[in-house]
């Protein structure tokens, strides 16, 4: 099969892009969720008083 290197690079590039996006999504989700938890726990005792 000719042009296999093009096929290899196309699929490699696609998977790299998808992996980077998934990683960034997961990092952002974790950061926001933990920030939210921290803020909620800090606010809830204040709201009770």
């Amino acid at each position: 099969m000719k042009n296999l290197n093009y096929l290899f690079w196309a699929y490699t590039l696609i998977w790299i892009l998808l992996a980077v996006y998934l990683l960034s999504l997961s990092v952002r989700l974790r950061a926001v969720a933990s920030q939210l938890r921290r803020l909620k726990s800090r606010l809830s005792p204040e709201e009770k008083t």
Partner: protein, 234 residues
């Protein structure tokens, strides 16, 4: 917004294993089942990911269009959050198309890029939605970001039908990508693999949209709590 969270988590939990299995099945079919295309050879196999990527990019921009219209009519921020999530995914998948397309074009057309109608209009679409994301980040307030982005999102989507009809309108030379054995139409194995990839990418897009939408909702909650903290008397 908190009511949406369990629903989105359920969608994510159901879709994740399904998409993972289907993705493996797609790769198996692409590299082990489908025959080589007659004129393009092995490199044509790029299209099994390229065309579904283009489809879900357009789907993403369609979601932006619908959600932006709903935001402008109802002024509910949840629609803007959905539009933002869909725009980010549209840009991602459009980038996949614009980067993997030239890798196919080099052996097939002998050039990485040509200012052909469909390529140019797709590049314009990508740039419009990159501008959409930049505009959001530069806006002075949340409402301004939502309002301006909604307008850009609606206008930007108008490029999608233009891309579809561009080959006919400007006599572009975009290829018929699925032809094998010299006959017209699609080889059954190619058609099945292509449909499987389209279905898988649609589910994959739904999974990513659920994840990105949930992130947007959490960011909204965070901003709301921070506002409350800044002005406790309000």
């Amino acid at each position: 917004m908190e009511r949406l969270d369990p629903m989105l988590r359920t969608i994510e939990l159901v879709l994740f294993p399904v998409v993972a299995v289907l993705m493996v099945a797609c790769l198996y079919c692409i590299f082990c089942v489908v025959p080589n295309e007659v004129t393009m050879g092995a490199v044509q196999r790029i299209f099994y990911f390229l065309v579904p990527s283009a489809w879900v990019a357009f789907l993403g921009f369609f979601v932006v269009f619908v959600a932006s219209t709903l935001y402008l009519t109802t002024r509910q921020l949840v629609w803007d959050t959905l539009a933002h999530a869909a725009a980010e995914l549209g840009v991602l998948f459009c980038a996949i198309v614009l980067l993997s397309g030239p890798i196919w074009a080099r052996p097939a057309w002998g050039t990485w890029w040509t200012w052909e109608a469909r390529l140019t209009t797709t590049l314009v679409l990508e740039l419009v939605f990159v501008a959409y994301l930049v505009l959001r980040s530069q806006a002075e307030s949340r409402d301004q970001a939502a309002r301006l982005a909604a307008v850009v999102g609606i206008v930007g989507f108008l490029d999608v039908p233009l891309i579809y009809f561009s080959v006919k309108l400007w006599r572009g030379h975009h290829p018929i990508v699925f032809k094998s054995g010299g006959g017209e139409g699609l080889e059954p194995a190619m058609l099945k693999t292509f449909m499987l990839c389209m279905f898988t990418f649609t589910l994959f897009f739904s999974l990513l949209l659920a994840l990105r939408f949930r992130l947007g909702l959490l960011q909204e909650d965070l901003a709301e709590i921070k506002d409350r903290e800044m002005s406790p008397g309000a």
